[in-house]
């Protein structure tokens, strides 16, 4: 989470994250982490399943 939020301070244009759907995929971020990132990150954020 801290690393991703560091994108706010760096020269990234976009943050891309995977998110759990109903069929959870273990390698993806848990839903609540994705939700928090969407709220906290100031860069455009692409959420995929």
């Amino acid at each position: 989470m801290k690393k991703v939020l560091a994108a706010d301070r760096k020269q990234f244009d976009l943050v891309v994250i995977g998110r759990h759907g109903r069929e959870a995929v273990s390698s993806f971020l848990p839903a609540h982490i994705a939700d928090r990132l969407v709220r906290l990150c100031r860069k455009p954020i692409l959420v995929t399943r």
């Binding site: 969407v38 455009p44 954020i45």
Partner: protein, 136 residues
């Protein structure tokens, strides 16, 4: 990428979402679908929307669509008016229109307001089957 749906409303973040979507569309030769969800009208005694509300809503919708189309200048774009709960209507339109990406602005509500009212973007990332790009 062929089609990108952008949810538009009267906010500044919505216009930023359109501009970013237009940038992506231009780079990938995609077309934009500018979607606005109509607010449910207050009904009169007979359960019909009041003429005054309809007149104001029409004016507001025209302004929103005109601004959004201007922000998407140079990219092929069509407009669609949706009805229902915002997140659900956008998620349904994304599937029925077979878009490759959904772009929405986040209004940046405070924590308390967000808990009380929820957020369209929060809800959308939970229910939308398509990739969702949130613009702040």
């Amino acid at each position: 990428m062929k089609r990108i749906l952008v949810a538009v409303d009267d906010s500044e973040t919505s216009l930023r979402a359109v501009r970013l979507a237009a940038e992506i569309a231009a780079a990938s030769k995609a077309e934009l679908l500018l979607a606005h969800v109509l607010v449910a009208p207050p009904a009169d005694l007979y359960g019909l929307p009041t003429p005054e509300f309809q007149r104001i809503q029409q004016k507001v919708v025209n302004e929103i669509v005109t601004k959004a189309a201007a922000a998407a200048e140079g990219v092929r774009a069509e407009t669609r008016l949706l009805k229902g709960k915002p997140a659900e209507a956008i998620a349904d339109a994304a599937v029925s229109s077979n878009v490759d990406l959904v772009v929405v602005g986040s209004r940046g509500r405070g924590a308390v307001t967000r808990v009380l009212l929820g957020s369209t973007s929060d809800r959308l990332i939970n229910i939308c089957e398509k990739p969702v790009l949130i613009v702040h």
